[in-house]
């Protein structure tokens, strides 16, 4: 499992490197001693987001797709909290302040509601077709 935040430059040999190569030393230095910045959280958020998208595309089980959605929502949440936290932004940098946290709060609440409805639909689907395999949900096919 690639350790993303230590050396992203290895990951993207082929692509044209962005101008920010100069700040790579931020990561070349020992990650254990450097204070954590927003970029670290953005990387984790990106990984979660991508895993969520992959899970939604890959899984044939309706509940697998639901789990993918949860991962995507959490990826977004991490970014919101990262931008709202004064730890990570350093002195004087404009942060989202409280708004980031409140939006994250609403995302969590609405994810609960969404999961409830999605599960009700899945159970009814399972009830009608005795399976949760989404590939078998092709009744409307022409």
């Amino acid at each position: 499992m690639m350790d993303f935040f230590v050396a992203p430059s290895i990951l993207l040999p082929g692509l044209s490197m962005p101008s920010c190569l100069a700040t790579v030393p931020l990561f070349a230095a020992n990650p254990f001693t450097e204070p954590v910045g927003v970029i670290h959280y953005l990387v984790v958020g990106a990984v979660l987001f991508t895993a969520g998208i992959a899970c939604m595309t890959l899984k044939r089980n309706a509940l697998g797709i639901l789990m993918g959605i949860e991962l995507v929502l959490n990826g977004a949440n991490i970014n919101f909290v990262a931008f709202s936290s004064s730890y990570l932004r350093g002195e004087g940098a404009p942060t989202l302040g409280l708004d980031g946290q409140v939006v994250a709060l609403f995302v969590i609440l609405l994810a609960a509601a969404e999961a409830a409805v999605a599960l009700a639909i899945t159970l009814n689907f399972y009830n009608n077709h005795a399976t949760v395999d989404v590939d078998r949900a092709d009744d409307l096919k022409g």
Binding site: L12, L15, P18, C20, T23, N30, F32, T33, E34, P35, V36, G37, I39, H40, V43, V44, A46, V47, L48, T50, A51, A54, C55, T57, L58, K59, R60, A62, M67, L71, N74, N77, I78, V81, A82, S84, Y87, L88, G90, G92, A93, P94, G97, Q101, V102, L105, I108, L109, A112, A113, A116, V117, L119, I121, T122, L123, N124, H129, T131, V132
Partner: protein, 264 residues
């Protein structure tokens, strides 16, 4: 008299502690340890980030739906840890309680209800896997380049910050913004969140009532004969087998009574 007693004890200890400190000097080897000042905040961040990303990838990789649910629980738990580290304690606790303790319990209930024997592990074909891997990697690369392109985000975090407190968040939710506006933010009052807060609560009520209605258990007059469970694998022929729960506990042999036998 008691006051006197208190004085004696405290004066006594004031003598002991300094002498103890001077005599016991850790040997210089301690200072020569290879790792300079380890920043615990970063180390914990690396731990929780590794957990979150590792289990997220494990969710994608796993086939058994129950294992996927377990890995998701660990991944979201680690995310809650990340929130705590970022200073958003209330959001971390909220994530633990609502998300992991509520939504995922709901999800696990759904898994338990539907994960009958044939549906537990639906294998994805290998071609889909490689396709998903390539698409995922490219999307990740795109996101990372975008993230690295902004220099402002690359600055390391600050050391000394105010202790996190949930009260400003609570006050914001009822409309009174008591937190100091961050430096450089536009002047003028910032909006409280009274209206969205009320809307979300009503929304949650409506949604949960709807979901409960959608998945309600309906009464029925006669006990329902179990019909054949359509196998999830299109390859296998549809086997008319009694779907008797997770582990089939069919009583061994026994008389051909109506209860046990039956040509289902």
């Amino acid at each position: 008299m008691t006051g006197m007693l208190a004085m004696d004890i405290s004066s006594l200890t004031d003598v002991i502690v300094p002498t103890l400190a001077t005599t016991f000097r850790p040997a210089p080897i301690l200072a020569a340890l290879p790792v300079a000042g380890v920043n615990w905040h970063s180390v914990l961040f690396l731990l929780f980030a590794a957990l979150a990303c590792g289990f997220a990838v494990a969710v994608v990789a796993a086939d058994n739906v129950v294992r996927m649910a377990l890995y998701l629980v660990f991944s979201l738990g680690a995310t809650a840890g990340l929130f705590f580290l970022a200073g958003a304690e209330f959001i971390g606790a909220m994530q633990l309680m609502i998300y992991v303790g509520g939504t995922l319990v709901l999800l696990v209930f759904g898994v338990m209800l539907t994960a009958q024997a044939p549906l537990v592990a639906i294998k994805a074909s290998s071609s889909d896997r490689t396709l998903a891997a390539v698409a995922g990697a490219s999307l990740l690369a795109l996101l990372l380049t975008a993230a690295f392109s902004v220099d402002a985000w690359m600055a390391p975090g600050s050391e000394v910050v105010p202790a996190p407190s949930a009260t400003p968040l609570g006050m914001a939710l009822i409309g009174v913004r008591v937190d100091t506006p961050p430096p450089g933010s536009p002047a003028g009052g910032r909006a409280g969140y009274m209206l969205p807060f009320e809307i979300v609560s009503v929304h949650l009520l409506v949604v949960l009532v709807g979901a409960a209605y959608l998945a309600r258990a309906k009464r029925r007059k006669t006990p329902r004969a179990i019909d054949a469970v359509a196998s999830a694998m299109p390859v296998e022929p549809v086997v008319a087998s009694t779907a008797s729960g997770v582990a089939s506990g069919r009583p061994a042999g026994g008389a051909k009574s109506a209860l046990v036998g039956g040509g289902r």
